[in-house]
């Protein structure tokens, strides 16, 4: 959501509009056309190719990112709307260690095959564990229902998220 720092004008179809935002902790400033969505901005402008896209209509979850700390579909927001926002992607969250237990559990449980869905799955799993540290298997399935995986059949992913929850609980004093 914008912070209203853009001048109060209307921007033309091919106008390149300057936006400033934080991506994975770094300040970035770029010129964007109004129709450029966040995933294409991340991949093509910033070279952050960990965030994927496929359906581009909100169904598959491959494009999942955090906007101001909240899970969001990168394909359903335009970069121009994110002036002043704080965006985090799989790259930044991996580097900070925020996803470490979840990633280790996905690895151990073989919950990654082609890997196309993995970034979105990891972010959605982490968002679940942050709000509900001890989810049931049903709650895990519900929380991941917006993320499609065409390889694993989901069982290994649910196992991995359950393991990650236990591991986080163990590490907490």
């Amino acid at each position: 959501m914008g912070r209203g720092r853009l001048p109060r004008a209307t921007f033309g179809m091919s106008d390149a509009v300057a936006i400033r935002l934080t991506v994975n902790g770094a300040r970035v400033e770029r010129l964007v056309a109004p129709r450029l969505n966040l995933v294409d901005f991340l991949r093509d402008e910033l070279g952050l190719t960990g965030t994927h896209w496929s359906c581009e209509h909100g169904a598959c979850g491959a494009c999942t990112v955090l906007i101001d700390g909240a899970l969001a579909r990168g394909c359903l927001v335009f970069a121009i709307q994110l002036d002043g926002a704080n965006v985090e992607t799989i790259e930044g969250l991996t580097e900070s260690g925020a996803l470490a237990e979840v990633q280790a559990a996905f690895h151990a449980r073989n919950a990654v095959q082609c890997g196309f869905c993995s970034a979105g799955m990891l972010l959605a799993a982490d968002a679940l564990l942050r709000r509900n540290p001890e989810p049931s298997r049903e709650q895990i399935r519900a929380a991941l229902s917006g993320n499609y995986c065409r390889c694993t059949g989901y069982h290994a992913i649910v196992d991995a998220v359950a393991d990650a929850a236990r591991e986080r609980a163990r590490r907490k004093p």
């Binding site: 959501m1 914008g2 209203g4 853009l6 109060r8 004008a9 209307t10 921007f11 033309g12 179809m13 091919s14 106008d15 509009v17 056309a33 109004p34 129709r35 969505n37 294409d40 581009e56 209509h57 909100g58 979850g61 999942t64 906007i67 909240a70 899970l71 969001a72 579909r73 394909c75 359903l76 927001v77 335009f78 121009i80 709307q81 959605a124 968002a127 679940l128 399935r141 519900a142 929380a143 229902s145 917006g146 993320n147």
Partner: protein
């Protein structure tokens, strides 16, 4: 696919947004959460000339307790609606419905006003608005007007909103009875094949008054008046009377006959559960 090109504006006041809408005419589109609009843009079902981003309009935000119930700003995100203590206390039906809307990522951005304006016949919030007797506050070039939710929804994606108008808020009376909410969908987060939103006032284990609104069955959320009235007689009578209330239309999920059947199942389950709970 990618969205077609458009011009973009982010007004900071409701008046400025209304002026932009009026000046642009038919090519203008408001964007709130974008969770229905952007899919439509990406599929090239719409090609607006100007996208007016209303996320900066403070007049459209906030949930407040009022003397008679609550007031919900159009920009209230689904997630905020579901997490609000005021909503849980005054209109628990809305709180019960939120987890059934899409997925967390979509609930974080999608808005209450956007859902009502979109008027998907299988959406949860329009049905709740009708069931709770919400009054919708609409701003236009000529000022403000109020429309009852019952008169707001006209058909599939059709509402009483004019092209030059903006939904500002909903005034919702406090819920007068126990929550009735059930929905059948193939997967968690999908739009409903059939759903029931309503409330029931009970005197010990007898339903004395109820409002039953079905969604996902007809071309819009429908209030089942005959069935509600027949509840005083028996659950069987209500299930039979439901035939007079509904005019189900088939979709990709189910035939009209199946939707009619499912609506009856939901009616029985919801009312039986309310009675058991009260006993």
């Amino acid at each position: 696919m990618k969205a077609p090109p458009f011009r973009y504006a982010r007004p900071q006041t409701l008046d400025a947004a209304l002026r932009l809408l009026a000046d642009e005419g038919a090519g203008a589109r408001l964007i709130a959460g974008g969770q229905s609009l952007v899919p439509a843009l990406n599929m090239r079902l719409l090609e607006p000339t100007l996208l007016i981003d209303i996320n900066g309009l403070a007049e459209l935000t906030g949930i407040a307790e009022t003397a008679s119930g609550i007031r919900v700003g159009a920009l209230t995100r689904h997630a905020a609606l579901g997490a609000s203590a005021i909503v849980a206390r005054r209109t628990p039906l809305l709180a019960a419905a939120v987890p059934f809307i899409a997925h967390e990522a979509i609930r974080n951005r999608g808005t209450f006003g956007g859902s009502l304006a979109q008027a998907d016949p299988a959406a949860e919030l329009p049905a709740c608005a009708v069931a709770l007797g919400a009054r919708l506050e609409i701003a236009g070039p000529g000022g403000r007007r109020r429309v009852a939710a019952h008169d707001f929804f006209r058909g599939v994606y059709e509402t009483a909103l004019g092209r030059d108008e903006i939904l500002v808020a909903a005034e919702i009376p406090a819920q007068p009875g126990a929550t009735l909410f059930l929905e059948l969908a193939r997967r968690q987060g999908d739009y409903a094949i059939a759903g029931l939103a309503g409330w029931a006032a009970l005197d010990r284990s007898r339903i004395t008054d109820a409002r039953l609104v079905f969604f996902g069955t007809d071309i819009r959320a429908v209030e089942a008046r005959a069935a509600s009235a027949a509840l005083a007689t028996s659950l069987d009578a209500a299930a039979t009377a439901l035939d007079r209330d509904l005019a189900p239309v088939a979709d990709l999920n189910a035939s009209a006959a199946m939707k009619r059947h499912l609506a009856r199942v939901l009616l029985r389950r919801a009312c039986a559960a309310a009675v058991t709970h009260a006993a």
